[in-house]
Amino acid sequence: METEATAKSSNPREHARAAASLEFRDVSKRYPGNDEPALRDLSFEVAAGEICVLVGPSGCGKTTAMRMVNRMIDITEGDILLDGESVRSRPPAELRRHIGYVIQQIGLFPHVSVGDNIATVPRLLGWDRRRVEARVDELLELISLPSETRERYPAEISGGQRQRVGVARALAADPPLMLMDEPFGAIDPITRERLQNEFLRLQEDIRKTIVFVTHDIDEAIKMGDRIAIMREGGVLVQYDTPDRILADPKDEFVAQFVGLDRGLKRLALSKLGDLSLQAAECLPDGTPVRGHADHHRVVFVDDRRHPVGRLGEDGEPEPVGPVGKPDTSLRDALSLIMSDANRPLVVVDADGAVAGLARVDVIASALAVGNGGHAAREDAAR
């Protein structure tokens, strides 16, 4: 799909120009008059199309690292390679036009309309008017903003809409790499969650390489394909997938940073659909049952196999209670089970028909996979 899109550059819908790979190679940053470097020998690679989250406490250099990619901050030592080519090989302004840039305060231009804001980089690149117009329309649709917003000034739209416009503006020229510095940081939790989900859905389509900076480990776990955990003094402590980091924090700092509830956080990464379910015994609604050996396994269903009731301990039918879906996270499933007196959770498939049962011990055993390593060694050492 990507190769096809790149081949047809005349098409204004020229989507997903192949995402770029990114490599930090022994990157250091020193400021004059300061003995301690702001970044120390940072090395990691981000595969094309992945979201890499830089996370850490303030002062860890995560924003500095991000801003060195588009040369907003100069590299002191080492190099940053974009598709194998040093970012220093191009003039800064030229380089930046091909890298999307989103910051927490958004920085929309207050004196031009939403449409003109989005059109900024395409115009800098000299696209013709019709192509720019078409691209703006397309992006407004992509971020589900009504087309009349196009003529509004940024001050006339809501905070959530402004944030979306900020993302659309960064995507406008279809850059192979996006830099996002706490893009959802200044937004209320409910809107933030919605924007995060929207963005992840968007990313499934556009498959950009993204460097995402946050101080919020939960956001990092949610957004990242890979997470770089940094500590004060600009040191990269661990670079791994969210699952590996939660399962196997490299040291005490990471363990503390991800929190004591890292097990639960890890559960949030898997879905019921990934779990091997226990088979349910489906009986037509109204079937009399007496003295069943494992009453938990009995689910009464209607003629479409939708759950309508369950068998109680006393042999009487009971309401079906909470039901899980394939995309319910294990964390939510666990919560549902615990609020339902630890009964195994009825899981239905996409059509609503009973697929099986999820038991607490099966969910817990999902955590065992991949656990150990650093954490186990540290526990043993203690």
Binding site: M72, Q105, P110, V112
Partner: protein
């Protein structure tokens, strides 16, 4: 009062228009007939001269202040010297300034223009610099991060966003200059100051005095409204949310009134 006597000189022989106009003969508070019949000979030309005086002074002042502001914005070490010089100019009493200039430039319009330009420099300079400085840092950061060159950032971001502050400065400078330009009649017999001096010379001829003063006030008011309207055209985004006939800009302009002495001290 001393000034008036000095300006008028000699004993005052009342001669109110020398016409058969009863009202004027009695030096009534405002003789409408005398006013209209002398529009063509006194007030009309004086008003036009006044407008020209102010337009030239504010235009030249703006060009100089704008260049100085860009310099101070790009190279902040230049700001202190510029502020010191323009504050000094601003604090020289106008009559003293005329005394200094006349030996060089004579009793000409040039003398008046130089003085007027000097007085609006500080107002314009400090407003333009503040306007440029107040461009939100995140807007500039986003512009840089998207690949605008420093020049593009100045032309497309900084200057347009400084427009409201620049206009606030222009409005104060214009109104101040319109009022100050009447003193210019002390040097050349031009502008709305001329009928005022003339009225004093005639022994405080009220009609002529009031008419000229009222025209100056009216001119200031109209000029201000025109500038507000012009700002609405140049920077529609700034007025979209509030309808601003007078309030915000004036309030801000007043708040921004320079503090010459402290500025000098700071420097």
């Amino acid at each position: 009062m001393n000034l008036i006597v000095a300006a008028g000189g000699g004993p005052v022989i009342p001669n109110f228009g020398g016409s058969a106009d009863k009202c004027a003969q009695n030096n009534g508070l405002f003789c409408w007939h005398w006013f209209t019949s002398h529009w063509g000979s006194i007030f009309g030309p004086a008003l036009v001269q006044h407008i020209v005086l102010v337009l030239i002074a504010v235009s030249i002042g703006f060009v100089i202040a704008f260049a100085a502001a860009l310099l101070a914005y790009r190279m902040p070490r230049w700001e202190a010297p510029i502020v010191i010089v323009s504050s000094l100019l601003y604090t020289i009493p106008s009559l003293a300034l005329f005394q200094i200039l006349v030996p060089f430039t004579g009793l000409t319009r040039l003398t008046v223009e130089i003085a007027l330009v000097m007085y609006c420099l500080l107002l314009l300079f400090s407003n333009i610099v503040t306007g440029l400085r107040e461009v939100p840092e995140e807007v500039r950061d986003a512009a840089r991060g998207m690949g605008l060159t420093p020049r593009q950032i100045l032309l497309r971001i900084d200057l347009p966003l400084a427009v409201p502050a620049i206009f606030a400065g222009l409005r104060v400078a214009t109104v101040t200059t319109i009022s100050l330009a009447t003193v210019g009649a002390f040097v050349t017999n031009q502008g709305l100051g001329a009928p005022i001096f003339d009225a004093i010379g005639r022994g405080n001829f009220k009609t002529e005095f009031l008419a000229a003063a009222a025209l100056a006030i009216l001119l200031a008011w109209v000029a201000d409204l025109l500038l507000v309207a012009l700002q609405g055209v140049v920077a529609p985004w700034a007025s979209r949310r509030r309808s601003s006939l007078v309030p915000r800009g004036v309030v801000r302009a007043i708040r921004r009134r320079p503090r010459p002495i402290s500025a000098v001290r700071e420097a």
